[in-house]
Symmetry: C2
Subunit: 348 residues, 2 copies
């Protein structure tokens, strides 16, 4: 925990490598929406601890060791949340299964994985319906945060903005349990939006602009959001956003947003991380790679994995060692107090 | 035309300061959609040359002189295109009026303004219907480019991606007349998307990802698009886009995109322009400010207008004087050959 050897905490990892049985079960569930006779039971899904171990050791854990990261905040595969599929019951069963798997991974690898919950959102359904799953994950499974999808329709954006009272039941529970939310969409079913190349990044940008337009943090001064993928377009256009807030007579973004929103470092090249760390105050930056995720290849320009974001954080001239400690560990502990408590209970 | 004194050509300006009579006429037209008796005639709109002159001299031309830019490629106000309103006839009448006004401005200020056309797009209507207006603007009004809205629905994204054959009639005419298109959406009527803070930037990101997914430029090797607002999120996430193209087995982006797409400099702070000019080859960067546009204030951090982008282009350490000439003039002449011809005919 010293500043020279920070814990490297990746606040954004998904279980993208779950055993194939999970996907097969989901496909059966989707078939069961139209043909109830085909609907599988939860108990039909059988994944052993050995299978879970193998899927992690050969993938995320191997890369964490290679890259030198210690802990991943681990949530169900984002693109598979697919909240647009089926109704609340379909989402509810699916979320429970996915969250249980991440919980089991965290039990099998207590030093390396800490669970973050997906919610059983469904388009047009009151978000309050998500609270039982959310509470179970926090209280029984030790989840330290949640992923909140601002567009459960999957690219049609039919829900109200994040500043709308529609979402307040979730926010009230987040405040009660002192857990942050990563604002993270799922698969796009709109042909205009490529899931990881357009929908994800657009959602990040959209969320930030919604938060600029509104005054959500007046109602919830302790609410905390992580905007993934380096905040979408926002840091690159920070002057635009500062200027738009100014036209709207909002306070400076340092006041209006930065007490409550945080950016991860899922930006897959050095100039992007250099900009992020130049423009956004270091207190608002959390280390993350989204490994193993959207971009799995090796960058021919560097010979390293695109998503090995630790290399960029190490190499940027914008951070001192003390600031790197903040990005890797200090800020993450502050934004996720339940993670901090868990680490302290482990003597870390 | 020497490199030491380039013409400063702003490739992205809209007529945001048109006389109030224009907006009044449009409001009447919108009322006329529901109440045909209220529908105004085109001839009801009367704007004198003096009114046009005044609206330009007090605004764009004043700021161009203050900031030291020479020429603006000038198109109708983007947020007022509002292609989602009414049917093709409504859009067609409106586009004709707006394009005529920009043409008149270009006639009144032939040294400073060169027109770029909006199209009479309408959701669900074949883009081929836009061709008569497009041809009139190019052949009779001397327009050197067009603005193409990839989402005429205004934030619901109901049209197919830009790589779809749906759009090919427009592309065929663009190639025939050798005019580029700026990919520019209009007002968002989706409450999730703030028009200039989310919808514009998302559309830029979306367009680039569509072009990565497809192979449009195999069919149209000479087609040229300008992606405004610095390319949305793309340059900030250039590693992500290079990596996604790689996963899709596409050629390097230098091959796959950069012979055909160009980024403007509408990025309203120094770190953004520094990133753009570091990541994107200089041949693909065109000077622009979108003045007078979305962000009209003065940045308290610099004491200058946010949208005075020439300051950032001047100040960046990433460009030599020869490269600045490219950004200000050389590239714009190359991407807009009809502008180049017009300037040459003026001895410039």
């Amino acid at each position: 925990m010293s500043q020279s050897q920070p814990l490297i905490i990746d606040c954004h990892g998904h279980y993208t490598t779950a055993p194939k049985a999970l996907e097969n079960w989901r496909n059966q569930q989707i078939a069961g929406i139209k043909d109830p006779a085909a609907m599988p039971k939860v108990s039909d899904l059988k994944i052993s601890d050995d299978e879970l171990r193998e899927s992690i050791e050969a993938n995320q854990l191997r890369l964490m060791k290679e890259r030198g990261s210690d802990i991943t905040l681990f949530s169900p595969r984002a693109s598979f949340m697919a909240h647009h599929i089926g109704d609340f019951n379909v989402s509810s069963t699916w979320a429970a299964i996915c969250n249980e798997l991440c919980y089991r991974v965290s039990q099998l690898f207590p030093d390396n994985f800490v669970p973050v919950a997906m919610l059983p959102q469904s388009p047009g359904v009151d978000p309050a319906t998500c609270i039982p799953e959310m509470e179970k994950c926090i209280k029984e499974y030790g989840n330290v945060g949640i992923n909140l999808n601002p567009d459960p329709s999957g690219g049609h954006w039919t829900s109200p903005p994040l500043t709308d009272r529609h979402w307040y039941p979730i926010y009230e529970k987040m405040v009660e349990y002192d857990v942050p939310a990563m604002i993270h969409v799922s698969t796009s079913c709109n042909a205009c939006f490529h899931t990881t190349g357009a929908h994800y990044i657009n959602a990040d940008t959209t969320a930030i602009m919604q938060l600029i337009q509104g005054d959500l943090f007046k109602d919830f001064p302790t609410l905390r959001f992580i905007i993934p993928h380096g905040g979408g377009a926002a840091p690159y256009h920070w002057g635009r956003y500062r200027g738009l807030a100014q036209e709207m007579k909002k306070p400076l973004l340092s006041e209006h947003l930065l007490k409550n929103i945080f950016f991860d470092t899922c930006v897959y090249h050095q100039p992007g991380i250099d900009l992020l760390t130049k423009v956004i105050p270091v207190d608002n930056i959390l280390f993350a790679s989204e490994m193993i995720g959207a971009v799995r290849g090796i960058d021919p320009e560097t010979g390293s994995y695109y998503d090995d974001t630790k290399r960029y954080v190490q190499a940027t001239g914008n951070l001192s060692d003390a600031q790197r400690y903040q990005v890797y560990e200090g800020n993450v502990r502050r934004v996720f107090p339940r993670l901090d408590a868990r680490l302290k209970s482990q003597g870390r």
